[in-house]
Each structure stands twice: as structure tokens, then as C-alpha cells.
Symmetry: C2
Subunit: 244 residues, 2 copies
DNA sequence: GCAAAAGTGTTGCTATTACACCCATGC
DNA sequence: GCATGGGTGTAATAGCAACACTTTTGC
């Protein structure tokens, strides 16, 4: 490969997207066809790429995200680095790497990032390979060691969302409390009592009600809220706690 | 270099040691002498080494720890990866790398691990370079980007110790409650009320009193306790919480 | 006998849990 | 008018914070 990248270093992004109901992950199709057109295998992987010379790891992750979703300035966080010498030694991995002109014998270290977006704000725009949202709960296996990377990303997200205002990264700017609650439920895999949740939220100064309600819903329209980062920064104490 | 290592990949270990009073970090002296014997500079760095071919990242960290402290089977955790293209571009770093036969132009990614030991159980045995414990609070600057790595390690330790039984890794097998309390105080940088602390501890099943007291102390001898990992594993709920 | 750290309980306050019914809208 | 999700309060309990004095040992 002569694309200005470092052969043994890559970044993989676990892109989490919330769609008002479930937590999704953006995956690429990994389809290998034989010369005669028959499909040798077809499965899915995370979005990733080799790191470029001169690019920081954060920049590399941001670039990958931009290329895949068209989005910039979105939440990205490094969570773990995967470097087992045999992590790319499975048969499919080797075949795939050969097919794209990478040496399957090279030991590649991959730095894991996760990012948080709202699915509706994303125009999945990766043309080379089909990018698609998958319900997290229905993902069973992935190419390479990407299932392991995904598991670790989810763990990191679960830990971090309890003490940091990450939930808002998964929501549109204006959201309802039910959607906010749903995020904690699907991310942490728990059920939360609606009244207790709202009681807690009402004590939080940076979740502010707007003078606006939902439109065109076939039920009582919900109050819309926004997250004020200004108020958060100004009032944050060390003990942010959203653990249920 | 021909030592079977990967030129652009290293592991740096932040070795935290508790001495019943403060939190310490094990550092190496980085001293560069000119041909005429004069010292060009002398400062300190974390313990680190390049990753070997065929070695996992965890194995690499464990090896570094073993070489430096003589200890195996101790707590080690990967916390962050540092890969800025210019992280080794400071003057001293370049001079040093040249002096040990590494190419200062190579972009090196370093995977950060922290480990937890009790200073009394360590025979600092690194002979090539002088290894020494330093009071965490008195470390101002370090070689390379190691101060940044140290800061991030401390942050990771602070986060993790609140919800995981890490404190015991910093203590000898038999310890007093005052020592346990001190760990939370120095790691988190807070003060804790003795009675409230003991009340909490007494509700924790896996901190078990022994039939033994301190010996030869010139004050009322304290009850000794141990941590039972068995009981911890058997009784752990999702909500371990040692945040004060 | 004094210096040093160990050990011990109570009270007020705050936060958490559990729980059930009416409301506004679109169709 | 019915289906859908929105919105609301109370009481009991558990956990947390603040606080001061006596005990045991070595020297």
C-alpha cells in the first residue's frame, strides 16, 4: 500500500446511534467475491482505517467518522487498544487483507474509539462499502476481532454515561424526557421508573425545558428539553451521578 | 536496534506504590553524559520498553514490570494510548533516543498501563538505570510526554478505584482500616471521616477482620484485616461504590 | 504520664424506592 | 371513542454527613 498510512497501526470506530428506541451500531459490509463472481463470504465489521503519517490518533478517528457519516465535531473517545499478535489471523481476515492489498502477516495494533450520534442526523454516505445501522442487541459476530472491540466499547460507554453528560450526544438538540430516559435504559440495560427519573431530571439545572412541544404525534405532545453545556460547565461538581 | 522489538510500538508503565502514607510512582533516571563525562541532562521517566514481536500488549507490560520490580502476578491495567506524531520531538528526547540507538524520527505509539503495588513488597531491582520511588505530589516534570501519561493514569486510577476493589492491590495482605482509608484519601485527594468510613467498611462482607493485631507500635495496636476475593466474587453486585 | 493512633454511636438530613391514575392528541 | 404515550405526588426507607471522647500501647 502506498497511501501514506502506517502499516501496523489502525483506528477502529464503534459508532453508536440512538433512534428513539434502541441503540444501534454502524457497520460496514465485508464481502469477498471470487473471480467468477461467486461470494466467498459476506459479514460485517466496524468502521476503521490505518493511521496516516502526521495525523494524531484523535484526528485519525475524526477522519474515519467524517468519511463514513459526513459528520464532524461529534463525540469521540478513545477507550482501548487491541494488539494481540494473532488478532488478524482468522481465515477470513487473511483473505480480506490480501484482497485489499495489505500483508496479512503484518501485526496491526488497533486503537478503539467510540462515538455517539443520533441516527437521524446521519446521512450514511460511505459508498465504497455498504454502511448500515444494526440493532446492538442483534449483532452476534463480526469480522476480525471486532466483536471484542464492540463489547469493550459498550462497557466503556456504560461506565462513562453514569458520570458524564454523554446521553445528550445521542439525542437531537431538542428532545423529550422519555427519549432521554430510554437512552439510560438501553445503554445500561435496565428499567427506570418514570416518576423517579423525572424527579431527578428536574433537579438538574442544565436540562432545560423549552417553550415548545412535540408536533403531530398521536398522543399528548411531550415537552421538549435541551441540554445546556454552559450551565453544565458552570455548575458541575465532582459528583455528577446518573447511575440508576 | 536488533532486539526483536517493534520499532514504533512501546508500552509505558505507571507503577503506583503505597507506603502507608502517600502515593508514590516508580521512576527511572534518564541521565545523558557527554564523551568528556560531563552531564548533558538528568531527569526522570516512567518505566517503558518497546513491544516484542509475538508478545501481547499485556504480556509486554507484565514483562516490563517484572524486569523493574521483580514482581509478577500483580495488578496491571491498560488505560490509554499515546500517539501524537510529535510526542518524542523535544530536544532531550531526541538526544536520548540517539544515545540508545533508536531513530528519533520514528513515530512511536505508546500504550499506557498502570499497576498497583505496595512499596514494601518491592525490591527495586533495575540495575541498568536507577529506579526510585517518588512522592506523586512532588513530581513536577518528566522526560518525553510522561507527565501527561502519568496524569492520565492517575485519572484512570481515581475513576476505577471508586467502583472496583483496587485499593487492596496497594496494601499488604494484612492491613489496618486506617491504611485502607488513607489510600482512598491520597488517591482521591479528599478527607474521609473515620467513623463513617468504618461504618461503611463494616457493611462490606469481603473485608474481613483477622484474629490478629498490629505488633510493636507505640499506640493502641490496630485490628488487622484482609481482603477476600472469594467473598467479593461471590457477593459482588453491580453497584460496588466507594465514592466519598 | 504523655504522645500517638485506635476505636466507637447518635442524630438530622437527603436521596431513593415503590407505586396508579388522569390528560391531550390523532385517527 | 379509543389507542398512545405524557405527565404528576406521597410515604416509607435507606444511606450519608457531621460530630468528640475514651482506650491501649511504647517510651
Amino acid at each position: 500500500m502506498n497511501d501514506n498510512t502506517i502499516p501496523n497501526l489502525s483506528v477502529d470506530c464503534v459508532i453508536f446511534g440512538f433512534d428513539s428506541e434502541k441503540l444501534n451500531v454502524l457497520l460496514l459490509e465485508r464481502k469477498l467475491d471470487a473471480q467468477n463472481g461467486e461470494t466467498i463470504f459476506c459479514d460485517h465489521t466496524l468502521v476503521g482505517h490505518h493511521v496516516r503519517t502526521g495525523e494524531t490518533l484523535d484526528e485519525s478517528a475524526a477522519r474515519i467518522l467524517k468519511e463514513t457519516t459526513g459528520l464532524s465535531n461529534i463525540y469521540l473517545e478513545q477507550f482501548y487498544t487491541f494488539g494481540n499478535p494473532d488478532r488478524l489471523k482468522k481465515t477470513r481476515a487473511k483473505l480480506w487483507l490480501e484482497s485489499i492489498g495489505r500483508n496479512p502477516e503484518t501485526r496491526v495494533i488497533s486503537i478503539g474509539y467510540f462515538s455517539l450520534v443520533n441516527v437521524n442526523s446521519v446521512h450514511v454516505s460511505y459508498t465504497e462499502r455498504h454502511a448500515k445501522w444494526f440493532d446492538l442487541k442483534e449483532i452476534d459476530d463480526l469480522g476480525f476481532d471486532h466483536k471484542e472491540i464492540l463489547n469493550k466499547a459498550l462497557e466503556a460507554l456504560q461506565t462513562k454515561i453514569k458520570t458524564n453528560p454523554l446521553a445528550f450526544e445521542l439525542l437531537p438538540q431538542k428532545f423529550t424526557l422519555s427519549h432521554l430516559q430510554k437512552i439510560y435504559e438501553v445503554v445500561l440495560g435496565i428499567e427506570i421508573d418514570k416518576r423517579n427519573f423525572r424527579k431527578k431530571v428536574s433537579q438538574v439545572p442544565y436540562i432545560v425545558p423549552l417553550k415548545e412541544k412535540q408536533q403531530k404525534v398521536s398522543h399528548k405532545p411531550a415537552q421538549l428539553y435541551m441540554f445546556s453545556r454552559d450551565i453544565f460547565e458552570a455548575t458541575k461538581k465532582k459528583d455528577f451521578n446518573f447511575s440508576f
